[in-house]
């Protein structure tokens, strides 16, 4: 991303961001609520109100100012190899867990290999194996999050964007979830995890960036003095 600004309507959320992800990298994005982490992910897939600047993915330009409606180009962008697990799980409540996962296999090869990929996802999230036929709307919060993240993993994507995987989950579950995420072998893909809870990510990501008021600060760690003392891991 180069000089990317984005916002909704009259509000500008991102201010001239510059950001690069290399293949095989796992990046943590930390920051308080409302500072632009979700917006940054939405900008990459083209779901903000407006955006400026250039985003280059696998050599293709996918950024730029959109004059069409929100999300009109998202399917195309996503199909070029980006998988996103949005904040708050946009899962399909009326479909079964299996169908939810299947819908995530939207890239070229992924659909044909969906059985294999699904088994791989079930390995990562064992509790889902018993619930394959269950309607997704009846799952608990943690299970729903697993479905959402699992669905993102079903796609054979080069870039995985995970937005706040621990939001609203009990500490034990969120630790397990983030740990599972960080253990996935990325190959030549990359993963960006946005989190509010820094300790969950520290030590597990190649780089941790801070997001404050729409601007990125490199290699956080101690620099985020504004944050309250780190959340205790139970």
């Amino acid at each position: 991303m180069r000089d990317v600004s984005a916002g909704y309507g009259t509000m500008r959320v991102l201010h001239s961001l510059n950001f690069t992800v290399e293949a095989g990298e796992r990046i943590g994005l930390v920051g308080l609520n409302g500072h632009g982490k979700t917006t940054m992910m939405s900008t990459i897939v083209g779901m903000t109100g407006w955006q400026d600047g250039s985003i280059i993915f696998l050599g293709n330009e996918i950024g730029g100012r959109r004059t069409h409606g929100t999300g009109r180009n998202t399917p195309k962008i996503v199909r070029s190899g980006i998988a996103i697990a949005p904040q708050g799980d946009a899962i399909f409540p009326g479909l079964s867990v299996a169908e939810n996962l299947e819908s995530g296999a939207y890239t070229q090869g992924a659909w044909r290999q969906r059985k294999k990929r699904r088994d791989a996802v079930l390995d990562i999230f064992p509790p889902l194996s018993d619930r394959l036929k269950q309607t997704a709307g009846t799952l608990s919060g943690g299970e729903r999050r697993m479905v959402s993240v699992g669905r993102a993993l079903m796609a054979d994507a080069k870039l995985y964007l995970v937005d706040e995987p621990s939001l609203g989950l009990a500490p034990k579950i969120s630790i397990a979830l983030v740990a599972a995420l960080c253990q996935i072998d990325l190959g030549d893909g990359a993963m960006v995890i946005a989190e509010q809870n820094l300790p969950l990510l520290s030590g597990r990501c190649d780089r941790i960036l801070g997001m404050h008021a729409g601007e990125l600060k490199e290699d956080v760690g101690e620099a985020l003095g504004d944050l309250p003392p780190a959340a205790e891991l139970s």
């Binding site: 897939v45 779901m47 069409h68 409606g69 929100t70 999300g71 009109r72 998202t74 399917p75 195309k76 996503v78 199909r79 996103i84 949005p86 946009a90 899962i91 399909f92 409540p93 009326g94 479909l95 169908e99 299947e102 819908s103 995530g104 939207y106 890239t107 659909w111 669905r151 796609a155």
Partner: protein, 299 residues
């Protein structure tokens, strides 16, 4: 009694086909397609033109092939008409403000224009279509049932079954159902609202085309032949629950029965009242229709 059942099922199948189309369109892309009557009539006229063309060219006369061809042409024309509607009313408006109302009005406008164009092109008279299934009757006990009726019911049920099956198992069907539940989420898994919407419109068009060709067995193709199926189709979608295929089928059977029974035992003129009353009764107990599957997901 048997005759009653058969006529009811015939009505149910034809209304059901149109209603499924409307229901699908509404629940997947949020547009109430009031141009479905136009699409219906277009299918009828497409089939008619095909028959005229065949007659002129003295081609294959083997009855069955011709009949299948008529049906397919009718469905194809109607599907194209559905795509045309999508081009004018859905694609430009779907992400603009106030889409449901504007889409409704746009489809109404297309319907108005289309009806008049049909009058201009084909004249206001009724046009007949040949009997698809022959005019023979068969007998169950003492009752005579036309092959046409049986054929209609079977074909309609088959097609409805195929569509339901396809929706549940195919990839495109999965995408359509996903879009019904959560359009934003669907966007994020690469389901393009525009493409899927057009596919939906084409399918609902094809279904209406099928209904149109089969309805033209008993009635004729005329510029206004789409009005009544549209109205009843809308009512059935309402009663069945917009978006629920099983609910729509159930509702169409119920209303078909109601119409047949009313016509047989009381006056024909009371049919609309009974249907209307039945729908109001259903909605009074279940405001979301019989299906109620998509209860809180999309209004």
């Amino acid at each position: 009694m048997i005759e009653l059942l058969f006529s009811a099922l015939v009505l149910a199948s034809m209304y059901g086909l149109v209603a499924i189309g409307i229901s699908l369109t509404w629940s997947s892309i949020g547009m109430l397609n009031l141009a479905q009557g136009f699409v219906f009539t277009a299918g009828g006229y497409g089939a008619y033109e095909f028959v005229q063309w065949m007659g002129k060219h003295q081609h294959i006369h083997t009855g069955n092939v011709l009949m299948v061809g008529v049906v397919l042409v009718g469905m194809l024309t109607a599907a194209l008409a559905g795509l045309f509607v999508g081009l004018l009313a859905f694609l430009p408006l779907h992400d603009r403000v106030n889409f449901p109302v504007r889409g409704l009005i746009a489809t109404l406008a297309i319907s108005v224009i289309g009806t008049q164009l049909f009058i201009i092109l084909f004249g206001p008279q009724n046009k007949p279509l040949p009997q698809l299934f022959g005019i023979k009757r068969f007998h169950i006990g003492t009752h005579g049932i036309a092959y046409g009726q049986l054929g209609t019911i079977v074909v309609a049920a088959l097609v409805m079954g195929i569509v339901t099956f396809w929706m549940r198992t195919s990839r495109r069907g999965l995408q359509m159902r996903a879009m019904m539940m959560n359009p934003i989420g669907a966007n994020m898994v690469g389901v393009s609202v525009r493409t899927t919407g057009m596919v939906t419109l084409a399918i609902s068009g094809a279904l209406s085309g099928l209904a149109s060709v089969m309805l033209a067995q008993t009635f004729f193709v005329s510029p206004r032949s789409g009005v009544s199926p549209l109205t009843v189709g809308l009512i059935i979608s309402l009663a069945g629950g917009l978006g629920s295929l099983p609910g729509t089928v159930a509702a169409s059977v119920l209303l078909g029965l109601a119409e047949a029974a009313t016509a047989r035992y009381t006056k024909q003129s009371l049919v609309p009242f009974v249907q209307f009353g039945l729908v109001i009764a259903i909605l009074a107990f279940r405001p979301r229709g019989l299906g109620g599957v998509l209860e809180d997901v999309r209004e």
